[in-house]
Subunit: 153 residues, 2 copies
DNA sequence: TCTAATAAGGAATTATATTCCTGAATTGAT
DNA sequence: ATCAATTCAGGAATATAATTCCTTATTAGA
């Protein structure tokens, strides 16, 4: 199934605001309600639309501090990697974990309430045998979006 | 307005799946549809719920490569910062920009189609006089969520 | 305890999603 | 080019959900 110009327009709208009704989307992209509904279904079935979520304000829920943590290791073994995977999955403050190119290391993004909160997170990582850990704190969030650019479609 | 236990439960549900109907949420948190609807309205009015969005699959829309770019500067002046702000806001591949603690630098997260795509982005940054740029590519996305932990509420 | 204020639920109403059916456009074979 | 066969689109009907409105509890303060 190919994503055409109309699908692209639908995706752009829904990335911005998923509360739009089928009718509203249909009108904006100039097709009928039914046709629009079918396209939206299709895009979900294909997995192009992964999910619809509510985005919360981190400050208002008591998580004003974002921190990037890089973790280095010289342990190449599968056991270590598996343990790392398991530990990070189960810490809810950790929002993202990436294995990076270059050095053999990982980048973690986490949100915490304050330095005390970071310290608790740090200890959890240390306890899990992730020793080579270094943190950078976010001073100012200048841009933050979940909208992917769809130019290439 | 205080966020109580019930609000917290509502937020946890909607962070995970914003397609849940008011009725479904109400049932899960054991209150009436109307009460639940009012709480949801309130949470939106307060800005605790910032928005509802559709999350797309980056691979399926042709953006399989994520890159972190750090930008250093020795230019402290307001003009440079303003230019930086303007340039990054207008590049849609750039999803996040953070000013970090420690060294005077910035961290950018971007998505691109491939190395060619990265190179185009790189050139845009260079053109905008952001010279001290270094990239790290994501090899594997191990965790990626927009769900904030609400334990502290 | 009484009153005012606040919060909750049920029923009615409105809006929206979803299905179903019909007709148009497109494709592929002859 | 013509004729099925298939895919795609739209309108109307139906089902589901959101929203409003009204009435009843519950709470806080005098």
């Amino acid at each position: 199934m190919k994503i055409d110009r109309t699908d692209k327009a639908i995706l752009e709208l829904l990335q911005r605001d998923a509360t739009l009704s089928v009718g509203q989307v249909a009108e904006k992209v100039n097709i009928s309600k039914t046709a629009c509904w079918r396209r939206m279904q299709q895009l979900e079935k294909q997995g192009v639309i992964e999910k619809r979520v509510a985005l919360l304000n981190a400050e208002q829920v008591g998580l004003p501090l974002t921190v990037y943590i890089s973790v280095c290791t010289n342990q190449h073994n599968a056991g270590w990697a598996q343990n790392f995977q398991r530990v990070t999955q189960n810490i809810p403050e950790i929002l993202e974990v990436h294995r990076m190119s270059g050095d053999l290391d990982y980048m973690i993004k986490a949100v915490v309430s304050d330095m005390k909160g970071y310290d608790r997170l740090y200890k959890k990582l240390i306890d899990a045998d992730l020793s080579d850990v270094s943190a950078s704190f976010v001073m100012e969030e200048m841009k933050h979006t979940t909208e992917l650019p769809l130019d290439q479609l």
